[in-house]
Amino acid sequence: MENTIGGQARSQEKYPVLEMRNIRKEFPGVLALDNVNFILLKGEVHILLGENGAGKSTLVKIISGAYQKSAGSLVLDGEEIEIKNPRQAQRLGISIIYQEFNLIPELTAAENIFLGREFLFSPGIIDQKKQNLEAQRLLDDLGVTINARHFVADLGVAQKQMVEVAKALSLDAKIIIMDEPTSALTKKEITELFTAIKHLKERGVSIIYISHRLEELSEIGDRVTVLRDGKHIGTHQVSNLSEDDLIKMMVDRELTEQYPKQRQQIGDEILRIEKLNRRGILEDISFSMHQGEILGVAGLLGSGRTELARAIFGADKIDSGKIYIGGKLQQVKNPKNAINLHIGYLTEDRKTEGLVLDLSVQSNVCLASLEQFSKFGVINPKREEKTAFKYVNDLRIKTPSLNQKVLFLSGGNQQKVVVSKWLCSNAKVLIFDEPTRGIDVGSKVEIYQLMNRLTASGVGILMISSELPEIMGMSDRVMVMRQGMIAGIYNTDEVTQEKILQDALGAVSYAV
């Protein structure tokens, strides 16, 4: 698609400060960015838009030096450069404001702004007065009311952001990257942030702004670039596009035959959740799932998907709500309860939550069901080995031996070990949280086939996924979550990706 820079009268002052040409970034097994072109103009607010995993974060991490590109070139102020680390990016005038702040709460705003670059009277002695004055000037310039001598711990979220921005300015930042800056802000704070952004623009600072909130785009953005599956889909003037256009750009992709979905006989209800609440996290969640069914759960990061999984599994306490398993009301107080009730939870991050990497394949497969193999606390190694062998064979886990540490297995095989763990514990309700994340394409298909086999045997799978095609390709029904609530439940045949994304973004409320 064509860019809109050339040809317009004002483009003379709006020259490109940063050009990214044919940027490619590979992670083992994943192509995160595929020949992406990106041009940032002086003094513009450039919105970066895309689904989870579209490549936005990867792109800005390459700009800020946190990642190294695999191929392509970066041109800053007309000069081709390599950005090797965040420090260098900072020296070049590129600053990133992270969602989680890099400030030290026990220090004042001024001390944070000049951390490591303190104003000194003489070696080792800080000139507090001058430092405070300078910091105050930076903050005032942003049009915000923050006392530079206040401790960061006492500041609100928006104010902390402003301190970060002031710090960036003190480093002479020409490019400031903001990653979902409004996600934790109130309406009033957002207005303040936008005022500050306008001040920044007037000073000629260019801003890359990542956000999911479509309604903010027209208010603050000049141009928007949409990424999808690591590809550059288009760059346009924000004023030229409607929300529907944007959503279409974000999800418009042909569904290929990579999903070997087999529909199973949908059986009895196996899980029902009624009015589940966890204060500030989950609100009035009610749904049911059946034998042989895959219920997809879509939603943005932070929409409460993983929290819902943890609540059902007893890993987090709930404030109220009922959980029925196989039609019976059950108390799930902790994961042990959940496992006894035949629930299994394949976590989002298998390395930190799913596996004990230093233990063997066999030990991991049997970890959640050692009771089966032990008497008076003594494990029967023959029976344990036999069971582990069965799953390794059955799921075709590639490992030199049952005693191999899972640490040394590939991502796909590690994931199969986690699945085996829950098969071994005889789970009937399986919660899969991002089951194919970080797994190569071949193994993905194997995981999907495995899901088919599981549903054929009467298991119900609650499949949380950030990949819409996966949700569309594998689930029987889709549940969309937004801000801890259910935004909609649909039969997969009767819903479009656009509709799901609208629900997830909450676009409907103001699109009407």
């Binding site: 994961p335 004990v356 970890l367 005693n403």
Partner: protein, 315 residues
């Protein structure tokens, strides 16, 4: 397990064993007194107390914890044991009391760590001081000495020429090896140390098993107290100072990772023997105890440096 795989999976332990052999050969060359049956039995006997405490330490460290209180707990168990013997309680009861005192101290450690959510370093640092103070208070700072021959035989006796403490040590190691490799408790010890979050999410009652591990560690300190008291024919409230460091050293030299999740009980035995052999050899060579401290400290650092370098190489 295949023969080849066995070697591969225990490469670290074979490495430590090799270190021990090198040390033994070195000392054999340097002093004729070293490689005699009586001296070797002597080494084994001297090693037994540290080796037994180090078993508990190995469990704790595999579970990604640490226990600084083992020396103090041993002293406290020792003085309570001595007073029980002095009061004329039957020997088996007195022994059980010694084990129970150690176990209760360890249990408290475990409860503070799991339910109180204290870092193990802090909880056991506190217990180190509390148990030491309790031992001093209990005895008013004076040792309790002079016991009957049947009790003293725990240190002086021998079966088939092997000193009783060595037999006890071997027994403890066999049981510990079995527990670590063949029981749920052992498996969960590795799992908790390797990945606590994954353990919770696999339905393991992490708090219960962690508490058990510290209780076992305390109980083994109580067992060590029996041997020490019998050997010295006296229970000293200031006994066992710095024993925690010897136990940690033996564990770490034996290849247990301070990060948790990894370690073998056999490695710890070899580690304890290396320390015992080193001390004994340096004594035979007439090297001053000041220099000995420097050498032993250096050995600990070098052992771990080599271990880390090898691990990096493997990855």
């Amino acid at each position: 397990m295949q023969y080849k795989e066995f070697i591969l999976h225990n490469a670290r332990q074979f490495g430590t064993l090799f270190g021990l052999f090198v040390l033994i050969i070195l000392l054999w060359i340097l002093t004729p007194h070293f490689l005699t049956i009586s001296n070797l039995l002597n080494v084994a006997q001297q090693t037994s107390i540290n080796a037994i405490i180090a078993v508990g330490m190995t469990f704790v460290i595999i579970a990604a914890g640490i226990d600084l209180s083992v020396g103090s707990i041993m002293a406290f168990s020792g003085v309570v044991l001595a007073s029980a013997l002095e009061a004329g309680l039957p020997l088996p009861i007195a022994l059980l009391i010694s084990l129970a005192v150690g176990m209760v101290c360890g249990l408290l450690n475990g409860l503070f760590i799991t339910y109180g959510k204290l870092p193990p370093f802090i909880a056991t640092l506190g217990m180190m001081s509390v148990a030491r103070g309790a031992a001093l208070l209990y005895t008013q700072g004076r040792p309790i000495s002079g016991f009957a021959e049947d009790f003293r035989s725990f240190a002086t006796g021998e079966i088939l020429g092997i000193p009783t403490p060595v037999i006890i040590m071997i027994g403890v190691y066999i049981i510990a090896h079995f527990v670590l490799n063949r029981t749920k408790l052992g498996r969960y010890t590795y799992a908790i140390g390797g990945n606590e979050e994954a353990s919770v999410l696999s339905g393991i009652n992490v708090k219960f098993f962690k508490t058990m591990i510290y209780a076992i560690c305390g109980m083994l300190s109580g067992l060590a107290a029996i041997i020490l008291t019998a050997r010295l024919n006296s229970a000293q409230p200031i006994a066992g100072i710095m024993y925690e460091l010897d136990a940690i050293a033996a564990t770490v030299i034996g290849g247990t990772s301070l990060m948790g999740g990894e370690g073998r009980i056999v490695g710890t035995l070899i580690g304890a023997l290396i320390m015992g052999v080193l001390r004994n050899g340096l004594n035979l060579l007439g090297i001053s105890s000041f220099v000995q401290q420097i050498i032993i400290g250096s050995v600990i650092i070098i052992a771990v440096l080599i271990d880390m370098a090898l691990k990096k190489h493997r990855k």
